[in-house]
Symmetry: C2
Subunit: 476 residues, 2 copies
């Protein structure tokens, strides 16, 4: 009933070019990269300023119309998929890099800037932004912050949260919180910005941010290391962190099921002399490449002497380093070779291998032909397990297979107190399993906060959790 | 009216030894290090477990009695000072170091453990806890987290917040939030722990924590550097961060008013050849002391060539390093030599010197005899300005002097969007000036959250802000 008036008011406030409806809404605003079914919203809003975002939210608030914020739509959890009875609000026109302050080592950006644009603006000043992930060219910084993105830089620089000095956020009723302060230290009441980072657009819409930059390392050296067992991988992690404090930039563990499959797909010979149970791809950063490579060789040499490392290759050029990284990046080819059922799990470090093994055994017990691949950001305690749905016997559909595998994996995870989402977020996809990783008391506290900041439940409603616990599945 | 029954119920739940009242409450529970007038609470509770904390809060909740949580009482903002009509709850008996997990590089502690106990337990395993401050032997980790402590380690490791993996928190009604998960990555709904860190005990009582540890650096080298101007200090900061990424452990700027006074008090000759406008005390960490000292010498040599460094001394031994640090640590002697009015301010890095200069000029215009001392953690954007109340003419009381100086300093700070509390928190002392650093919209959001998590306003009420805006001074 309110739609015609709503659209008219939005057009009056934002301009006709910022409001689209029906067929004018391109497919890319209707779904994200998660495979969720596309949804056509009431309207797509493309505000060009914080004031327009605030105006749009005020109008939607008056009309009691839900608003789903959208970044680059690269999410893997369905968190930015629109809803039929609401508007989608894309930040894509707010894509300015407003200021790089090299002396202060900060960058001020609008939420719709792509991650890559932020990275490049920093690099132009010899500085580095600490978040990096495969979708860098498409994902937007606002989405990275709203989901507290992880990715490649976490072991060295922390999650997206740790790169944020200040935020500008618009609340459900259009109130602007102007928290764009560039100070590292600011203990003046609750540090509100942390409430919005990782809240997946359910508490406010991030419109601008002041981010920390770091000196760009002058040298990087990569190594591929073969290990006899999982405990040796943890020992190597600590050894490298002790020898290269603050300078371990990657520590990616590949079980042999992943490693040998990746080599087969790429028809590449192993850089190592034979097959091993575990491989780690590590990278350290430093000042002078030759010194760094020598220090790395020496450290690996010590580890070989005590038997905790079986073999190692240190890249002698950037071309060799890229070749090593291609082994790990075979994950991008999963959709080509498999019907992947992906997990993004974190666990206490000492439990990851036992858990991964348990999963493989339980899946094999159910489907003797199952094929799973294990790899992860071990430095961050993050396991990515992928099961090929096509390898599961019984002619079940992909959706059925996914559900059945999730039940097994998350059932085992619940027993160990692990996280169902290390870095991808909850969105719609993991909502049924949120209770695996959060107690009822925590979920009640989240709901209380949501109700305090968005009492009408208009911001990205139904994502992460349902406001009324009765609407949530009690058990998976 | 409810007191007799309240005390009886508390004794029944916690045991007689955990409940004290009247004269049995030692003076140290009645005030903190801020100089706030002591207050005798209704009762002092000393629970020995999370269950007892929860039981105490349930009982106080039933009786509608306020609860003021207490750590080591070393705070400088009055945040843990009790109130007449409430109970004080000290965490001091919950002081166990529960577990150091060297492989995972984590430590699990109870809130009442002193910072020093946490540091020592980590060091015993070759690991380092990233928070350090002068009160380390007395302050408690729960208080460090509740106030998001800063201190000496911030430039290298970040604030207390960034050392936290998991927390256990008890809410006002006695609900326990068991968020003691040790994972670095865990994007499962709102990251609730961040809501409690830095909230100064107004949203929940922290009872246990899982903290990040780092490899303890094998080598540390300190240097005292003389600089021609403030811009050169920022250039040196960036130069050292670029050359020693992640390894700059301190970058303390001393204006000459502080530096020369410190030398005079200690009757120490300057390690530098003459007087300079600015001195920086910097420390870098690394692997081999000789290599580190050489790299530092070379880097300072480059800076001397371009004129941005005028003179420098690199400590050749730990004894020399300690002598350099004693210059900076003269702050501990302020109460001996001065009637100090202390500020804990942060500003965008490029504004600190201009602001500090402005303050000195405005104070001099009002009191030509005023003496102020400027120093700070420049790497963190944190300025500590101290004015000697005795240097202010006019025979005003210390309280009057403090108020008059605060009006001038915070008035100037407001124009620059600075923070009235970089690391000490708001508590009672800075409550009248919170609005300098936070907008009405932000304060309204804070109040909404306080009401959502503590609707009866029982947890540390009246600290940080008053729940009803009408009770807050509108302007300083």
């Amino acid at each position: 009933m309110t739609t015609p008036s709503l659209i008219e008011e939005l057009v009056a406030a934002l301009g006709a070019d910022a409001v689209r409806s029906g067929d004018a809404i391109d497919a890319r605003y209707q779904a994200d990269w998660s495979g969720t079914a596309p949804v056509l919203p009431l309207a797509l809003l493309r505000p060009a300023s914080t004031e327009q975002v605030a105006a749009a939210l005020r109008i939607c608030h008056t009309h009691r119309v839900p608003v789903v914020p959208q970044g680059g739509m690269t999410g893997l959890a369905g968190g930015a998929v629109p809803q039929l009875d609401g508007v989608a609000l894309s930040l894509e026109r707010m894509n300015a890099i407003e200021r790089v302050d090299a002396a202060a080592a900060t960058i001020t950006v609008q939420a719709g800037a792509t991650l890559q644009a932020v990275q490049e603006a920093a690099l132009a000043q010899g500085l580095l932004f600490g978040v990096d992930l495969g979708a860098r060219g498409t994902c937007q910084i606002g989405g990275n912050l709203a989901t507290n993105a992880g990715g490649n830089g976490v072991v060295q620089y922390g999650m997206a949260r740790e790169q944020v000095l200040g935020l500008e956020v618009v609340l459900a009723d259009g109130t602007v919180l102007p928290m764009l302060r560039p100070m590292l230290k600011n203990n003046t009441g609750y540090d509100l910005k942390h409430w919005f980072i990782g809240s997946e657009g359910t508490l406010g819409i991030i419109t601008r941010a002041v981010l920390v930059l770091r000196p760009a390392p002058r040298a990087r050296v990569s190594t591929l290391v073969a290990l006899p067992d999982y405990a040796s991988a943890i020992r190597l992690l600590r050894r490298l962190q002790a020898r290269f404090p603050g300078a371990l930039a990657a520590f990616e563990l590949m079980w042999d099921d992943f490693f040998s499959t990746s080599l087969r797909w790429s028809q590449m010979a192993s850089p190592l002399s034979q097959a091993y149970p575990f491989q780690v791809l590590a990278e350290v950063t430093g000042h002078v490449e030759a010194d760094l490579a020598e220090a790395l060789q020496n450290t690996l040499g010590e580890a070989m002497e005590d038997g905790s490392v079986l073999d190692a290759v240190v890249a002698q050029s950037q071309a060799q380093a890229r070749a090593l990284w291609r082994i790990r990046e075979a994950t991008a080819e999963f959709p080509t070779h498999l019907a992947p059922i992906n997990f993004d799990i974190s666990l206490p470090l000492d439990q990851i291998d036992a858990f991964a093994e348990e999963c493989v055994q339980a899946l094999t017990a159910r489907w003797p032909t199952q094929r799973s691949f294990r790899f992860g950001h071990l430095g961050d305690g993050n396991l990515h397990l992928t099961t090929d749905a096509r390898s599961l016997a019984g002619g079940i559909s992909l959706a059925e297979a996914e559900h059945a595998v999730e039940e097994i994996v998350y059932g085992l995870l619940a027993q160990r107190g692990g996280s169902v989402s290390a870095e991808h977020g909850i969105g719609l996809h993991k909502k049924p399993y949120l209770h695996v990783s959060r107690t009822p008391a925590e979920l009640a506290a989240m709901r209380a906060i949501k109700q305090a900041l968005d009492p009408l439940n208009l911001l990205n409603p139904g994502k992460v959790f349902d406001l009324h616990p009765f609407a949530t599945k009690a058990t998976p």
